[in-house]
Structures are given as C-alpha cells and as structure tokens.
C-alpha cells in the first residue's frame, strides 16, 4: 500500500516536472486577427517553441511589438540583411519568392531599403493588404522574438506542423516574369 502511494506521488511529481519543462520549452496561443491569412486563421490554437532557432528566416515568430503587444508575424529579413518591400520583397537585392502570401503590399506601404542592424529582424504578415508589421513600425530587435510557430493543434481539420518555407529567389533575368526560382538554404 505504502509502495503504491509512493508510486502515485512519484508519478504526480514527474507529471508536474514534465509540465514545467514543457512550459519552459513551449508556448500555446490562440490566433487573433487576419494578418497571417492564409497560413494562420483567427481562432486557431498553435504551439510555439520558445527561442529563436538557427535558420529562422521564413518562420512565423511570436514577437513583442513596439507597444508590447504579442504579435505573430513571419521573419523575412535577418540581421545584417537589406530588405526592400514593394509589390514584392527584395532581400539583398534579390526578389524573394513567397508562395504563402495573400495579396500584394499596398503602394502606401512601400519603403526604401531597410538595412538591418546586427540585432534586428524584419517581419511581415502573410496577408499583405491587412497587416501591421515592419513596413509600419520598422525592424524589431531580435530579443523581441520569444518563440517560433511549430504546430497547429486546433481545429481538428487543420492540425499539423506549420512548415517553414525554404528561401527561394527569382532568377535575376532582364524579363523577370516567368523566370525559374532558385533555391537557397537558409
């Protein structure tokens, strides 16, 4: 009897310890707003991994915005890169191929080149016509990135891993339309 009690207490302690470890490593949030459509829909529940892993370009980040509000935005530019947002995104002068995007950036949101500092990232919402992001509040310090999206676990029909798109660039030809994208690991 005493052994069973001991086992039960041990199991409870292990469960609590596992929960604490999980809380340190992961973060669960509900998505509000439509700026990450079509990738994330409002009302979905997602699990994020804390920290900023290597090769973060293209990942959806959980960041603290300039006013401290928790935001979900895609990491487009990494420290040291130059980003230009027009009707398409240019990274270090090369056009980024973005299959995940909905719409194109409105002319009012066009910017010059943002040369990112050694500790800055440039973030954009996938829904380019309805997102408040680095086009408006500028690059953010890397330290504001608290986690990256990993898995969607609600609703049941949309459960699955949130993929990180590989960086692809459109080949720099004079007539760029229809050019074959090139792959680059990031």
């Amino acid at each position: 009897m005493a052994r069973r009690m001991l086992l039960a207490v041990g199991a409870c302690a292990a469960f609590v310890a596992a929960l604490r470890v999980a809380r340190r490593a992961f973060l669960a949030v509900e998505v509000a707003g439509e700026s990450m459509l079509p990738t994330l829909r409002p009302g979905e529940f997602i699990l994020l991994r804390r920290g900023l892993p290597a090769g973060a370009a293209g990942r959806i980040a959980f960041v603290r915005g300039p006013d401290g509000r928790p935001l979900l935005k895609r990491i487009i530019g990494l420290p040291g890169e130059s980003v230009r947002v027009g009707d398409h995104v240019e990274l270090n002068g090369r056009e980024l191929v973005e299959d995940y995007v909905l719409g194109t950036s409105p002319a009012a949101d066009f910017r010059g080149v943002n040369q990112l500092g050694p500790h800055e990232v440039f973030l954009l919402g996938d829904n380019r016509v309805a997102s408040t992001d680095s086009r408006h509040f500028g690059p953010l310090p890397v330290s504001r990135v608290e986690a990256v999206a990993w898995v969607r676990y609600w609703p049941p029909g949309r459960v699955g891993r949130i993929a990180r798109p590989r960086r692809r660039f459109r080949a720099p030809t004079p007539a760029s339309s229809g050019a074959t994208p090139t792959l680059e690991g990031a």
């Binding site: 509000a32 300039p66 006013d67 928790p70 609703p155």
Partner: protein, 144 residues
Amino acid sequence: MNVARTIERLIRPHSVAYAHCDLPCGVYDPAQARIEAESVKAVQQRYQNAEQMKTAGQTVEDYRARCLVIKEERANLVKHHLWVLWTDYFTPAHLEKYPQLHQLFWSATKEAGLAKKSSDPEQGQKLLDAIAEIDKIFWETKQA
C-alpha cells in the same frame, strides 16, 4: 458538436497572439496612429542630425529630401488612422460622455498636418501628446 466545443474549451490556450491588422479584422487601437507619429518625430530628429545620420555615399540634401518624403507619408498615415478611429470606432454615445472628442481629433489631425511642414521634433512631440489624450479616452471606453 458539443463534444467539440467542450474539447475546444479545455485545450484553449490562456494567451492570445495578434496577427494584427486594421480594417478587415475590426481591431481598433490608437497605437497605430502613435507608431506613425513616433516615426514622424524620429524623422524630424534625423532631419536635424542629417550630417551624422547620412551614409557615406549620401549628401545631406539627399538625406533630408528622403526624410521629408517619409515624414509626409507617415503624417498622412497618422491622419488616416485617426480618422478611422474617429469615424469607425467612436459612437455618439462616446461623444456624449466625452464631449471634447471632436476637438481632440480635430487638434490631433491638425498637428499631423503641421508635421508635414515642420522638421522640429518638438512639433512631433505635440502630435504624440494629442494622440495620447485620445488613447486615454479610447481605453476608458474599452473598459466601460
């Protein structure tokens, strides 16, 4: 259906993260106007310190010209965000409780207009102060 709702309730995260946007999601927040106004003030400061801020291959004139273009653009966005709040968020009931609302918005948008002409960061601060007054009322109405 009820089972799904129960499960959803049980697994619902405690935190919300905002895939934030303006018009389609119906989220209103004076922070948008404030962020643009902060840009205006920052550009005014940069304009004043153009000599130090410009890059090596850039002339002071070019740098300042860019500042003016960006400031004009940002000031227009301040007006836009204020008008969205004024016309879409605030209601006659709010106006009854806060009769100074029209005056506040009029003054704030006037300051945004003045920001286009001025390169003085103190003027940018006046714009931020005007937005802060609206922000205070906005959050009071949210808590009501």
